[in-house]
C-alpha cells in the first residue's frame, strides 16, 4: 500500500518519473526502430546492478528502502552510454555510479552525476574495452529530432531549459573559436550538435537536478563552465570531452552551492 502511494505521489509530483518515462520511451522506440542497444542482456545487467547496489547501500547506510526511480534511471543511462562487447563494464559502471553517491558526499549531497561518473571512470581506466555512445545511433536527422523533441518537453517541465540553451549557445560560439584556431571546417566542429548523443547529453545529463545548481544564475554559469571545459578538452583532442567536462564541473558546482548555502545559513 505504502509503495503504491509512493509511486502515485511520485508520478504526480516528482519530475524524475517524467524523465525516467521519457528515457524509457526513447529506449523502447530506439531499440524497436534501430536496435541501438549493444544487447538487451547487457542493458538488463546495467539496470539490475544499479538498482541492486542502490538497495544494498541504502539499507546499510540509511536503513531504508530507496525509491527505485533514481537507480533505474542511472542503470538505463549506463546501459545506453556504455559501449562494450563484454557484460562486466555494464555491471561495474552501474556499481560505480551508485556507490559514489554514498562514498563521495558533501553534507549528504553527492557530487557527481551518477551515470557520468561511472562512464568516465570506465573510459579512463579501460579504454580498450569501453567506448562511450557516440554515433552508434545512425546519422539520420530523424533520430536526432525525436530525442530533441522528447528532451525539450521533459526539460521544459523541469524548468532547466536555461542550462540547455546556455550550453548549446556556448558550444556553438566555442566551435567557431575552435575552428578559427585549428582550421577545421566549421561544419565539422559543429557536427556533434546534430548527433543524438549530444541530445541525450544536454537533456538528460547536464540537467540532472541533483548535481546542477538550483539558481538560474548558478545554472547559467554551470552550463557555460561545462562548455568552456569541453572546448579546452576538445582543443586537447579529447574525444570524450563532454563527459569529462561534466565530470569536472558538477562537483565544483555542488561544492560551491553547498558552501554558499552554509555561509548564508551562518549569516
Amino acid at each position: 500500500m505504502e509503495v503504491r502511494e509512493t509511486l502515485i505521489d511520485g508520478l504526480r509530483h516528482d519530475p524524475r518519473y517524467l524523465v525516467a518515462g521519457f528515457l524509457t520511451l526513447i529506449l523502447i522506440v530506439g531499440q524497436a526502430w534501430l536496435g541501438f542497444l549493444e544487447s538487451l542482456e547487457q542493458f538488463a545487467i546495467a539496470v539490475v546492478f544499479s538498482m541492486a547496489t542502490e538497495i544494498a547501500l541504502s539499507r546499510i547506510y540509511r536503513r531504508e528502502w530507496p525509491n527505485p526511480i533514481s537507480s533505474y534511471m542511472t542503470g538505463v543511462s549506463v546501459g545506453i552510454l556504455v559501449r562494450s562487447p563484454y557484460w562486466w563494464p555494464y555491471a561495474v559502471g552501474s556499481v560505480l555510479a551508485i556507490s559514489q553517491k554514498y562514498a563521495i558526499q558533501l553534507r549528504e549531497r553527492h557530487l557527481f552525476n551518477p551515470s557520468n561518473f561511472g562512464l568516465c571512470i570506465l573510459l579512463a581506466a579501460v579504454p580498450a574495452t569501453v567506448a562511450a555512445l557516440s554515433k552508434q545511433w545512425t546519422n539520420m536527422p530523424g533520430v536526432m529530432l525525436f530525442i530533441f523533441l522528447l528532451g525539450f518537453v521533459v526539460i521544459s517541465r523541469l524548468r532547466r531549459l536555461d542550462i540547455v540553451f546556455t550550453y548549446v549557445l556556448g558550444f556553438i560560439l566555442l566551435s567557431l573559436v575552435r575552428s578559427t584556431i585549428t582550421g577545421v571546417p566549421i561544419l565539422a566542429e559543429l557536427s556533434p550538435v546534430s548527433g543524438p548523443a549530444f541530445q541525450l547529453f544536454i537533456f538528460f545529463m547536464i540537467t540532472d537536478p541533483q548535481t546542477s545548481p538550483s539558481t538560474r544564475r548558478g545554472r547559467v554559469s554551470y552550463a557555460m563552465a561545462i562548455a568552456v571545459i569541453e572546448a579546452l578538452l576538445r582543443l586537447a583532442r579529447n574525444q570524450n570531452a563532454p563527459f569529462f567536462a561534466l565530470f569536472v564541473v558538477s562537483p565544483i558546482a555542488v561544492i560551491w552551492e553547498t558552501l554558499r548555502d552554509r555561509s548564508r545559513n551562518k549569516t
Binding site: S39, S99, Q100, A131, N139, M140, A188, S191
Partner: protein, 589 residues
C-alpha cells in the same frame, strides 16, 4: 565521517584503483611469455627471394585533397597467388595503385627465387590514365583450358586476361562482356549455379557515377556510419554456356538474382555454409550491415538477417574468410572490423556456424576480435598442429606518428548525414596518422577454438599498413607461407618454419565436370578421431587470394583415416590410405 562510511570510501577507492591497474597488470603478465613455444616462426624473405615491390598510391581530384590519404588507404594493395605456368610452383601477382604504375608478376623458380615477368606476360600495364587503378586480382581457369586466367579488378574498368599457356596473356575484357566502370574492392570467381562455368561477383565501394579523378561534386561519401546503403552496387556476372562449353562471355545479372547489394562493399566470399551443395555469398560492407545471401539451388538467393546477428551489424566489414576453427565440420566466417582504444570497440566478427543456418559472433569470447584496424585475414594452420589459425593484416594510414586523425573523424562522424556526405566538410588529414603503425595479428588456435595473438613472438613484426594477405606453400616444404601486401609499403614474404615433427597433408584439385579450378570444392579430412573441412574458394579475403591448395596440419604422429571431397558439381569422392607429408593431386572422377 562514520566508520561505516570510511570503510565504504576505502573499498570504493580500492575498486576504482583496481580498475585502472587491471589492464596494466594483464599486459605485464603477457609480456613475460617466452617465445619459441608455438612450433613455428616466420622469416621475412622477400628481398632474398628477388621480390622488391613497393606499392604506390594514386592521387585523386584535388577537390577531395583533404582526405586523399584516407581514399588511398581504401584503395587496396593486393596479392594473388596462382600457378600460371603449371610448373607446380605458385607464382605471385601484385597490383599497384598509382596511375601509370605497373603491376608485377613474380614467377616462382623452384621456391628459391622469383623472376618478375609482368611486362613480358602482358599483365603489367593495367593502371593507365582513364581506366582507373588496380585494387586487386583473382585467378581461375574460367575457360577450362587447363591454365589459370587472371581477373584484375579496379577502381575503374575490370580487366580480364586469358592465359595463352605459353607464359603470356591476352586481354579479353571486352570480348568477355566485362570492362564496365566500377569501384571494385574485391571480386571472386565462383560457380553459383553449378553449371561448370565460373561466374564472377564483384563488390563495389564508391558509386559508379562518380569519377574520383574528375569530380563534379564532393557529395560522394557515405550517408551514415552505421547503416549506410548508398555505396556502389555490386555486380554478378554470369558466364554464359555455349552448348556444353563455357562461352567465355559474361552477362550482368545481379538485379535478376537480388544480389546487387548497395552497401560500401570491401570484401566478398562464397562457400557452401549450410550444406545444401550450392555456394552461399557473404558480402562485407563498410559503414553498416553485411549481407549473407543463401543460395537456393542456384536459382535465386535468400538474404539471411538475424536481429542482432548476422546481417544486422553496424560495423566496418573489411574481409571475408571461411574456416572450420573448431574442427566441427562446419565453415565459420571471419570478418575484420575496426577497434581503436578509446574510440571504437567494435572488434572483428567470427560468425561461428552452429548448423541449420544459424550463426553466432564469438570473436570477443574466443580472443579473435581485437586486431586494431583490420584488413585482409586468412584461415590456415600455420603451425601444423591440426587447428586453423588466422593471420590478420591491419593499420590504416601510418603518417606522422605524433599526430592522429581519429579525433577529427570522431568529432564529425557523430553529426547528421547532410554533413557527412560532403567530402569537403571532412577535416583535413594532412600528414596525420590514423590507426597507423599497427602490427599484424597472428591468432593462434589453442585447439579448443580459442585464439591468442602471437605475432610478435613468431616474427611477424612489421608495422606497415597491411591490406591483402595470401597463404601459399611457396617453397613446397609443407608449411603455409604468408605474403602480405602493404598500402604504400613493400610486399612482404614471411617464409614459415615449422617444427618438422608436425605433419601435414595437401590436396591440389582439378575439376572435370566441375570448373577446372575446382573452386567451391570442399575437402573434409578425418584423422585422429576428428575432422576438419576446408573450402577451395575463388577469392575471399580483402585484396588477397591464396594459392589454390588445400593444406591440413596434422600434429605429431597423426593417424590418418580418410578424406572426403565434395566437388562443385556435387559429386562425392573418398580418398583412403593417405600418408602424411604428401601433396595429392586429385582429379574429379
Amino acid at each position: 565521517m562514520s566508520r561505516k562510511r570510511l570503510i565504504l570510501l576505502v573499498l570504493f577507492s580500492a575498486f576504482v584503483l583496481s580498475l585502472f591497474a587491471a589492464p596494466r597488470v594483464t599486459s605485464w603478465i603477457h609480456q613475460g611469455d617466452p617465445g619459441g613455444q608455438y612450433g613455428f616462426h616466420f622469416e621475412e624473405s622477400a628481398h632474398s627471394l628477388g621480390i622488391d615491390f613497393i606499392h604506390e598510391g594514386s592521387s585523386f581530384d584535388p577537390k577531395i585533397g583533404n582526405i586523399t590519404p584516407w581514399i588511398q588507404g581504401m584503395g587496396g594493395a593486393s596479392v594473388t597467388v596462382c600457378d600460371f605456368n603449371n610448373d607446380g610452383w605458385p607464382d605471385i601477382y601484385v597490383t599497384n595503385g598509382r596511375i601509370g604504375s605497373m603491376n608485377r608478376l613474380y614467377m616462382n623458380r623452384g621456391g628459391k627465387q622469383f623472376e618478375e615477368v609482368a611486362q613480358k606476360a602482358g599483365v603489367a600495364d593495367v593502371n593507365r590514365a582513364g581506366t582507373g587503378m588496380s585494387t586487386g586480382a583473382t585467378c581461375a581457369d574460367y575457360n577450362n583450358d587447363g591454365y589459370e586466367d587472371l581477373l584484375v579488378y579496379k577502381w575503374g574498368n575490370l580487366e580480364l586476361f586469358r592465359n595463352n599457356g605459353n607464359g603470356t596473356f591476352t586481354r579479353v575484357t571486352h570480348e568477355a562482356g566485362l570492362g564496365e566502370w566500377i569501384y571494385a574492392s574485391d571480386a571472386i570467381w565462383w560457380d553459383f549455379n553449378r553449371d561448370g562455368c565460373l561466374d564472377i561477383y564483384v563488390g563495389a565501394y564508391w558509386r559508379a557515377e562518380h569519377n574520383l579523378w574528375h569530380l563534379d561534386t564532393t557529395r560522394i561519401m557515405q550517408d551514415d556510419f552505421d547503416v549506410s546503403r548508398n555505396g556502389g552496387r555490386n555486380k554478378l556476372y554470369e558466364q554464359m554456356k555455349s552448348g556444353d562449353r563455357c562461352s567465355g562471355t559474361f552477362k550482368e545479372v545481379s538485379q535478376q538474382y537480388g544480389v546487387d547489394d548497395p552497401g560500401w562493399t570491401l570484401a566478398v566470399g562464397a562457400a557452401d555454409l549450410n550444406g545444401k551443395g550450392f555456394p552461399d555469398l557473404y558480402v562485407a560492407n563498410d559503414y553498416g550491415p553485411d549481407s549473407l545471401f543463401l543460395n537456393i539451388d542456384g536459382s535465386h538467393f535468400k538474404k539471411l538477417t538475424e536481429r542482432h546477428g548476422i546481417g544486422d551489424d553496424t560495423k566496418k566489414g573489411m574481409n571475408v574468410a571461411f574456416g572450420d576453427f573448431k574442427n566441427s565440420g562446419r565453415l565459420s566466417i571471419y570478418v575484420t572490423n575496426i577497434t581503436e582504444s578509446g574510440y571504437l570497440v567494435e572488434g572483428n566478427m567470427l560468425w561461428e556456424n552452429l548448423g541449420n543456418g544459424r550463426f553466432r559472433d564469438v570473436a570477443w569470447s574466443v580472443g579473435a576480435a581485437d586486431c586494431g584496424w583490420g584488413w585482409g585475414a586468412v584461415f590456415g594452420d600455420l603451425n601444423n598442429d591440426g587447428y586453423l589459425d588466422v593471420y590478420c593484416a591491419n593499420g590504416m594510414v601510418s603518417g606522422n606518428p605524433k599526430t592522429e586523425y581519429w579525433y577529427d573523424l570522431f568529432t564529425m562522424s557523430v553529426g547528421i548525414n547532410l554533413i557527412l556526405e560532403d567530402a569537403a566538410t571532412w577535416p583535413s588529414m594532412d600528414s596525420k596518422s590514423w590507426s597507423g603503425y599497427q602490427r599484424s595479428c597472428v591468432f593462434l588456435n589453442d585447439g579448443r577454438g580459442r585464439f591468442r595473438d602471437v605475432a610478435e613472438k613468431v616474427g611477424a613484426t612489421d608495422l606497415y599498413d597491411g591490406r591483402g594477405v595470401a597463404f601459399a606453400d611457396l617453397d613446397r616444404d609443407g608449411t603455409l607461407d604468408v605474403i602480405v601486401a602493404n598500402n604504400k609499403g613493400p610486399l612482404l614474404v614471411y617464409l614459415n618454419r615449422v617444427d618438422p615433427s608436425r605433419k601435414w597433408i595437401q590436396f591440389r584439385l582439378r575439376g572435370t565436370k566441375s570448373n577446372r579450378s575446382a573452386i567451391g570444392a570442399q575437402v573434409t579430412l578425418h584423422w585422429n578421431n576428428q575432422m576438419q573441412v576446408q573450402v577451395l574458394d575463388g577469392g575471399g579475403g580483402y585484396s588477397g587470394h591464396s594459392e589454390k591448395l588445400i593444406h591440413f596440419g596434422l600434429g605429431e604422429n597423426p593417424k590418418l583415416d580418410h578424406a572426403e571431397i565434395r566437388w562443385p558439381s556435387g559429386k562425392m569422392q573418398v580418398l583412403r590410405q593417405l600418408e602424411p607429408n604428401k601433396l595429392y593431386a586429385v582429379e574429379e572422377p
